[in-house]
Symmetry: C2
Subunit: 246 residues, 2 copies
């Protein structure tokens, strides 16, 4: 079994793909499911998300679709929520489907879905569960894909990939690539999760935006056993990927 870590999305995934965007898309995705959401729809663009929004008049507390996302760390006009796991964790999403679009994470999921057989979303908060699920599904390769930030490598994603890789290696039977060695080395030498995340370029920027609580939330390890898993079906709107708690 091959364990591969792509420090940026690459493509050509033959088997299981685990997409990581610690700050903050995949952390927030897990939080939505923890707070009762039925499903997540990750859209290719903000426009696809807005087109799914019900007409005015249908809105209100009972509306089954809500929109969450960000551009450059800030909420998108017309969306109900930002991309904040702290905000998500404070709400009740029971019976809701959350439509998500973010700067890097949703793109990475779409790249993964072009070829992968099984697509999972992972963060530090569900790291152990995601690793176990990936191992159970894989027949030849687990590719851990770091979303990065605007096509540049993000320390926090590489660190989280190292946490997952460490769990997987403990299960045994993997050959690893250079990306996995880099992720493991970072996980073992950059300090604890809160140090790694808060000292990253993206973590520092979120702190400056007043979103330091999100960084601290994202640094929690394996507090959730829920793993967003890509599902197919006739009810999935074009330009979206549907994830449910697998």
């Amino acid at each position: 079994m091959r364990l591969r870590v792509d420090l940026l999305p690459h493509g050509n995934y033959p088997d299981v793909v685990v997409v990581i965007d610690v700050l903050r898309a995949t952390t927030t995705a897990v939080a939505y499911l923890e707070r009762g959401a039925d499903a997540l729809l990750l859209t290719r663009t903000p426009e696809v998300a807005l087109a799914l929004r019900p007409e005015v008049g249908e809105a209100g507390e009972n509306r089954p679709l809500v929109l969450g996302g960000e551009r450059g760390g800030l909420p998108i006009p017309g969306f109900d929520f930002g991309n904040s796991p702290v905000e998500a964790a404070a709400q009740n999403f029971t019976g809701k489907t959350v439509v998500m679009n973010t700067t890097n994470g949703t793109d990475a999921a779409h790249v993964a879905a072009q070829t992968g057989k099984h697509i999972l979303l992972a963060s530090l908060t569900n790291a152990h569960a995601a690793a176990r699920r990936a191992r159970a599904l894989a027949t030849e390769e687990i590719a851990i894909v770091c979303a990065g930030t605007d096509a540049r490598v993000s320390l926090e994603d590489v660190y989280a990939a190292g946490v997952l890789a460490e769990y997987l290696l403990a299960l045994g039977g993997f050959s690893i690539d250079d990306g996995a060695r880099i992720a493991l080395t970072m996980r073992r030498n950059v300090g604890n999760p809160i140090e790694a995340l808060s000292s990253s370029v993206h973590g520092e920027r979120l702190g400056q935006l007043g979103l330091g609580e999100d960084v601290r939330y994202a640094a929690q390890v394996s507090t959730s056993t829920l793993v967003p898993v890509l599902v197919s079906g006739e009810d999935v709107p074009e330009g979206t990927l549907k994830f449910t708690a697998g």
Copy 2:
């Protein structure tokens, strides 16, 4: 002054760019200059290189242009040399211009040259000299760009980037990005250069191809003070970048 390490070529370089392809393009480039070559022409494609080759009849020992390169680690049909620093170091290139095309390194140089003001080629063999030259030229940013292998991150390039970054940080006055932190962490935790290079995916493949001597050659640190520097001029053929010993 910003120090940025791109673990894969990205683009948008405003100032100094240092391109690294340790196994083997930039190591071989330095070896050609050490053995007397007047200049290197890095071509966009193998076809551009072959088109520069003189007609049959002009060939012979006194021919001023020779071709060196590889695809998948192996020599290109019609080329005079592979991409081997050991082979280069055993020849005399005095008075010659070497036309180079390789799988990853020459592409990375072309990406760098699209926007960068000063483009240098670095390897472990000229690491100290390349770092000093970059520092002398830079006014706002030094970007160290790892060529990688087929759009995936290569351990040996990240390790060498860490060696350069360490030299630069010793000179003082830099802010660093996540890529630089990753490179520095790898340089400090993956063992000595021969361990790092020979255990990389690419290093292992070269060993299997019988090219282990090239890996050992490339693991020498700062044995050369020559730095290939991009120069412009009317005599530079289209689709090529001309480097001379700066």
